[in-house]
């Protein structure tokens, strides 16, 4: 039983690696589908902006509120801008944005490709002499890898803005002081690390969603199962890999 599970998981890992290599091959060889990439960036990226704004600003507000009241007892309110901005940029913005995107676009991609699979549209792409990886996977994965770092950065900065609103209104912290503290605390590498994390999470979400979409069988029930698998699996991978990515980035950039 355990041996079978290990074998099955190794097989899945092998298939995903194969899909990733095909993605790399197709990304760097002609023909390029720039129109499809643009469509996907609009769909996956621009379509996620509003929810990213909400997540970012609310997270920043809540964190500032909690840290503000927590540190106030020890006279440490002035450290709130630094703590909030660093936590947001290094951890919370990439993590929350990616988890949100895993739910929104991961399930969307797997449902779309899964539905195409059960209605033989994927076979039709192959039968017409074209590659489903080139036509479907490359634009989606590239769009996710490009969009997610930008969304994560947006969420981080909206969080800082949310923090400013609460620091100013709840703790009477002057806006100039808050902004000055944030600017002296965060470094380029914090934003760069955020973007690296988000790009990696974008790759994981979109690649696994495409992979599961291609495997979808059993009609609409299969499509539903595929979306559940993608959300659960990608969220778990994001949470676990976040620790290791954080460790690596801390080692590299401090």
């Amino acid at each position: 039983m355990i041996a079978q599970k290990i074998k099955k998981n190794l097989q899945i890992t092998g298939e995903i690696t194969e899909l990733f290599l095909a993605f790399v091959r197709c990304t760097f060889s002609k023909p390029f589908y720039l129109g499809r990439l643009y469509e996907q960036i609009i769909h996956l990226g621009i379509g996620s902006i509003s929810i990213t704004l909400v997540i970012g600003i609310v997270t920043g507000m809540v964190m500032t509120l909690q840290f503000g009241y927590g540190l106030e007892k020890f006279g440490g309110t002035l450290y709130v801008p630094a703590i909030v901005s660093l936590s947001l940029l290094r951890e919370l913005a990439p993590l929350f944005t990616s988890l949100l995107v895993a739910g929104r676009i991961g399930s969307g991609i797997s449902a779309e490709i899964g539905a195409m699979n059960v209605t033989q549209q994927i076979d039709a792409i192959r039968a017409l002499g074209t590659s489903p990886v080139r036509v479907l996977v490359v634009p989606r994965v590239l769009a996710a890898v490009i969009s997610l770092p930008l969304l994560g950065t947006l969420a981080g900065f909206m969080g800082i803005v949310g923090g400013l609103l609460i620091a100013n209104s709840e703790f009477s912290m002057p806006a100039g002081f808050y902004i000055n503290k944030v600017l002296t605390t965060i470094k380029f590498m914090d934003v760069f690390g955020l973007m690296i994390k988000c790009a990696f999470f974008g790759l994981v979400i979109s690649l696994l969603a495409c992979y599961r979409g291609f495997l979808t069988t059993d009609g609409t029930k299969g499509v539903g199962n595929a979306t559940i698998w993608v959300v659960v699996t990608t969220s778990t991978i994001i949470l676990i890999s976040d620790f290791f990515l954080s460790k690596i980035l801390l080692l590299l950039f401090g």
């Binding site: 023909p31 195409m116 209605t119 033989q120 549209q121 076979d123 039709a124 192959r126 039968a127 017409l128 002499g129 074209t130 590659s131």
Partner: protein, 242 residues
């Protein structure tokens, strides 16, 4: 007669079910052959195998003397522009209009300008009586219309061979006649074809030869006349049961 497709001793199994146990036949230039058999005998699987949509276990498949069963997916792309497949459901891209579906292979495989693609697509859509529906989306089409658009898309690149997977299944008599008429027009234009069907009257209208798949092998191969006058009990029962 010039041989376009040669299928030699093809075997295929799914887990423990042996579907094909040595299928052998040829398709010659200009002819249309009907591939018949009871449900579950692997007619569609065989058709899919011919262009590599399904991998075979053993045997050989040749297109114009070139062995194609051992080609990679990328190498098969070129073959698939010459040997085209029409799906039972139409398998239209549901996020693209009728026009875009038919134009897809032209944009992918030709250097035609947009105006030339438009002319070619409209010519094909006229042929299948779908020109007026060019801007409709697949979910807005009836089953018969979807099959006709699917046929149009499969012939857009002027392939040499068209593989029809049950194009008349589930259609009312009027639509069956429309589809058969389209297939006849393709035939007159010189396309060769393999027509998978349960519909013997339809096969008789279109096909030059009939093949019957039974127990994983070609059980019968012959002309319509040979089929109709066969003394074989299975053929007689098969013919009357359908």
């Amino acid at each position: 007669m010039e041989t376009l497709l040669e299928i030699k001793n093809v075997t295929k199994s799914f887990e423990d079910k042996q579907v094909h146990q040595g299928v052998t036949f040829n398709l010659y230039k200009g002819e249309t052959i009907g591939l018949l058999g009871n449900s579950g005998t692997g007619k569609s699987v065989l058709l899919r195998s011919l262009i590599g949509l399904e991998e075979i276990d053993s045997g050989e498949i040749y297109y114009r003397k070139q062995r194609i069963d051992n080609l990679s997916e990328e190498e098969l792309f070129k073959i698939r522009t010459k040997v085209s497949y029409s799906f039972q459901s139409g398998a239209l891209f549901d996020s693209a209009s009728v026009f875009e579906n038919v134009a897809y292979p032209l944009f992918e495989h030709t250097q035609l300008k947009e105006s030339e693609v438009e002319t070619r697509v409209m010519e094909i859509l006229n042929l299948v009586n779908m020109a007026e529906s060019r801007d409709l989306m697949p979910p807005d089409l009836s089953g018969g219309m979807q099959k006709r658009v699917g046929l149009a898309r499969s012939m857009a690149l002027n392939p040499e061979v068209l593989l029809y997977d049950e194009p008349t299944a589930g259609l009312d008599p009027l639509n069956v006649d429309l589809v058969l008429d389209i297939m006849n027009q393709f035939k007159k234009r010189g396309f060769s074809g393999i027509f998978v069907t349960h519909d013997i009257p339809a096969a008789k209208k279109i096909c030059d030869r009939l093949l019957i798949l039974r127990d994983g092998k070609i059980y019968f191969e012959g002309t319509i006349e040979q089929f109709e006058t066969s003394d074989d009990i299975f053929i007689k029962n098969f013919s009357s049961s359908l």
